[in-house]
């Protein structure tokens, strides 16, 4: 898929663990792992909003489009 999820990069910058972020966003660590590994097929705006809020970033910092 040409959409790349850079969530792990942003988490590393903010020094936040998967467990912490999952708890704060209100999703399971399994679902966060799906998101981080790029297996997710869609992200709800509400989830994106919470992630951006917790990591203090913009959606563009997490998601990236790369032409195939």
């Amino acid at each position: 898929m040409p959409i790349i999820v850079n969530l792990d990069v942003m988490m590393a910058k903010r020094k936040m663990s998967s467990q912490d972020l999952a708890e704060k966003v209100g999703i399971t660590t399994a679902n966060l792992s799906i998101l981080k590994t790029g297996k997710a097929k869609a992200v709800r705006f509400s989830t994106l909003e919470k992630i951006c809020d917790e990591l203090d970033c913009q959606p563009g910092d997490i998601l990236e489009y790369q032409r195939e």
Binding site: N31, I34, K39, A40, K41, A42, V43, R44
Partner: protein
């Protein structure tokens, strides 16, 4: 009180009963063929002579019986998955696809036997129609599997 679990159990029992019936019918195929050849002489026209129909009828019935057992086995797998609450999975789509092809195969075989007994052309067309319906059902299931997968991977 009637509920969906009992309905599922009934479907599984009926599938098992149909499989047993198919096995019993297989034993009597030569007798059925002989009876049909000599007792149903007043039936509609045929392309080939009726006196040559015994072996083609035996072959047709044996092949159709084997295909029916294969279809029932797939139905059994389908019902087993449904009872495990695994409905929209690839395995079920494969089962429906196989059942569809089996029905179409039975349809073609029956239509070929229609050369000896024209009524079988009608039965063959019914089987082909059923195979087509199963194919559409398979397409619906295929789409449902895709939608479920998208739903499961929506975070």
């Amino acid at each position: 009180m009637w509920n969906k679990d009992k309905s599922l159990i009934l479907s599984r029992i009926l599938t098992l009963a149909a499989a047993m019936a198919a096995v019993i019918v297989a034993i009597f195929i030569p007798a059925i063929s002989e009876w049909y050849q000599f007792e149903m002489a007043a039936e509609a026209n045929s392309f080939f002579d009726r006196s040559t129909m015994f072996i083609p009828m035996c072959i047709t019935l044996y092949v159709c019986d084997a295909l029916a057992l294969a279809a029932l086995w797939n139905l059994h797998i389908l019902l087993r998955n449904i009872s495990k609450d695994e409905v929209f999975i690839q395995n079920n789509t494969n089962c429906l696809r196989r059942i569809s092809w089996i029905c179409m195969g039975v349809g073609v075989i029956m239509m070929l036997f229609g050369l000896w007994s024209s009524i079988f052309i009608f039965f063959g067309m019914c089987a082909l129609m059923f195979g087509l319906i199963m194919r559409v059902l398979k397409n619906v299931f295929e789409k449902a599997v895709e939608i479920k997968s998208e739903n499961d991977f929506t975070i």
